[in-house]
């Protein structure tokens, strides 16, 4: 009896193992399918824009284009409306980057010197612009500017962009500062450096990469903003995304595809810069999403 029972047990265990293996294989297949679908979903529309931006047809026709040309790029660069927006966007993003990074780095250093409780409260306060919907920021600033009589449109946009980008520097710098060993600064102090000197010669060089990362974030998210800028732009000063959006609303012209590809190329280049100064693993591991 016991022999039969034990044979029965081994048999069912074998069956179970076979079932498990089958399920594992099925799981692997499912996973591979999932990855394929996700990659296709993320990439195909972008590839389509890339190809369509070289479409030789005069109108927006069915994909794929029968012949290729540079027509839409020539149109983009011949259109003063877009070029004006591009100029404003670049100037705005550069200025925003400098101001945001200075304010953010200074604030992060200040926060790191406070007691833990105050640190937490101030971090929440300073990161709050990231949680508030862009439309609300734009609308609130619109009301504020008109009540405070801030009439220069570029200045209006600059205020909004600094507000929504300075938290990135706080995040990146704070993440590095909290991982910094106090013994480095203590060593400098014990060797006779003043606090100020220790800060500039020990702390700042160690923060270089996170300051750089914060600056790149500020540039990118200033250049990309639409929601807040939409409320604050007017014909005297508007950003490229605002110009593109108002055109997109009117018709799905392929000039926008050309402008899109230019921005895709710019994004890739910026990514390479960021990867070179920081190393992608670190950006993700320590800064972007660990508030």
């Amino acid at each position: 009896v016991s022999v039969a029972a034990s044979r029965h047990v081994t048999q069912s265990a074998g069956l179970r193992r076979a079932f498990g293996r089958r399920m594992d294989q099925f799981g692997h297949l499912l996973l591979a399918a999932l990855i394929t679908v996700v990659l296709a979903f993320l990439l195909l529309p972008l590839l389509m824009v890339t190809v369509m931006s070289f479409d030789a047809r005069e109108y927006l026709g069915q994909f794929p284009p029968p012949a290729l040309s540079m027509r839409w790029y020539e149109r983009f660069f011949a259109e003063p409306y877009y070029l004006q927006g591009l100029k404003t966007s670049i100037a705005l993003a550069c200025l925003t980057m400098v101001i945001s990074t200075s304010i953010g780095v200074s604030a992060a250093v200040g926060i790191s010197m406070l007691p833990t409780r105050a640190q937490r409260i101030l971090t929440t306060l300073f990161l709050s612009p990231l949680v508030i919907p862009g439309v609300v920021v734009g609308f609130a600033l619109l009301i504020f500017y008109s009540r405070a009589h801030v009439d220069n449109t570029f200045l209006r946009l600059l205020g909004a962009h600094v507000l929504i980008t300075f938290p990135y520097s706080i995040r990146t710098v704070l993440a590095t500062l909290s991982g910094l060993r106090p013994s480095y600064v203590e060593a400098a102090l014990s060797l006779g450096a003043t606090e100020r000197r220790a800060f500039w010669t020990v702390t700042v060089p160690l923060l270089k990469t996170s300051i750089g990362a914060g600056a790149v974030f500020a540039f990118v998210f200033s250049f990309d903003d639409v929601a807040a800028s939409m409320f604050l732009s007017d014909p005297t000063a508007y950003t490229l995304p605002v110009a593109l959006l108002s055109m997109m609303y009117a018709n799905f012209d392929l000039v926008i595809a050309a402008a899109s590809l230019l921005q895709i190329v710019m994004t890739v280049l910026l990514m390479l810069v960021l990867d070179a100064i920081v190393g992608m693993d670190r950006v993700v591991g320590t800064s972007v999403y660990k508030a």
Binding site: M23, G27, L114, I132, V136, L163, I170, F252, Y289
Partner: protein, 283 residues
């Protein structure tokens, strides 16, 4: 460091002024504006007008409630799909042994994150419209290309295109802390791998899923460009309504009331989930 001197507070001054002057004060002005009566033909409220709740009670009518419902429903769908699809991918990336593949994934996802929302919206619009797979997709799903259902679908697709990279990157860090040895142990004890994942990896990922959900949902609820372009006027989010209030009607008080409600709802939600998840975690 019990006592903080005035000197130590100095580096905080610019950020303080920025947040107070360009965020707190303007938001107070929005709150003030939302309590003023709207005078048609006049842009903005009149100075010294009496206070009223009319702009808020107006929002209770079904026509307005629908905008809020649409916003929350579509955001919920996009962020739930985002974390459901994103978790296995985050797990694969986190436990990828080849550092080159891992790096490639991360660079790819961060590039997508950096790519202008406008560009992605246009790309989805093109691919899901008549020039792309629009006709085939709509007829396959039995929807009309110009119908509301198809507009909702493209809005969700647009949101998902942004939410997926965000959710995956957010879930990466918490998923990284999962100890793969637990799954190995379960396997050594005779559990098949799929069951080990289902009974061990899934429950331990609750924190990751919550983090991914908060990031995705916050993004979706405040989305502006995606519903504006892909909704084609058939689907409108609250943020689009705010813009219309300001742009077409010049009705600042009503736009202000909408902004306050949207802000309150999304803040309560974000901090509520954060609180809940930290409570769950510390238990």
């Amino acid at each position: 460091m019990a006592v903080v001197g005035v000197r130590e507070l100095r580096p905080l001054v610019p950020a303080f002024l920025l947040v107070l002057g360009l965020l707190a004060l303007p938001l107070c002005m929005v709150a003030d504006e939302s309590l003023r009566p709207y005078v048609s033909g006049h842009i903005g409220s009149l100075a010294g007008a009496p206070l009223t709740f009319a702009n808020y009670t107006e929002l209770l009518s079904p026509a307005y409630a629908n905008f809020f419902l649409d916003t929350f429903r579509l955001s919920l769908i996009a962020s739930l799909v985002g974390i459901a699809v994103g978790l296995p991918i985050a797990y694969i990336i986190a436990h990828e042994t080849s550092s080159r593949t891992r790096r490639a994934w991360i660079i790819f996802l961060v590039s997508l994150l950096f790519l202008n929302v406008l560009v992605r919206t246009y790309a989805i619009g093109l691919a899901a419209g008549p020039p792309g797979f629009g006709r085939a997709l709509a007829s396959f799903l039995g929807m009309r290309l110009n119908g509301r259902d198809y507009a909702e679908l493209t809005v969700v697709a647009g949101l998902l295109h942004c939410v997926l990279p965000m959710a995956i990157l957010t879930m990466l860090a918490p998923v990284q802390t999962l100890n793969p040895r637990l799954v190995d142990a379960a396997e050594a004890l005779g559990a098949p791998r799929w069951w080990a994942h289902l009974s061990i990896t899934m429950p331990l990922s609750t924190r990751a899923l919550m983090a991914g959900f908060v990031v995705g949902f916050t993004f979706c609820v405040s989305a502006f460009v995606i519903p504006m372009v892909l909704g084609k006027g058939r689907v409108m989010f609250v943020s689009n309504l705010i813009y219309t209030r300001f742009g077409e009607a010049g009705n600042y008080p009503s736009g202000a009331a909408l902004a306050i409600v949207l802000l309150t709802a999304s803040t309560v939600f974000v901090y509520g989930i954060g609180h809940l998840s930290s409570k769950l975690w510390e238990r």
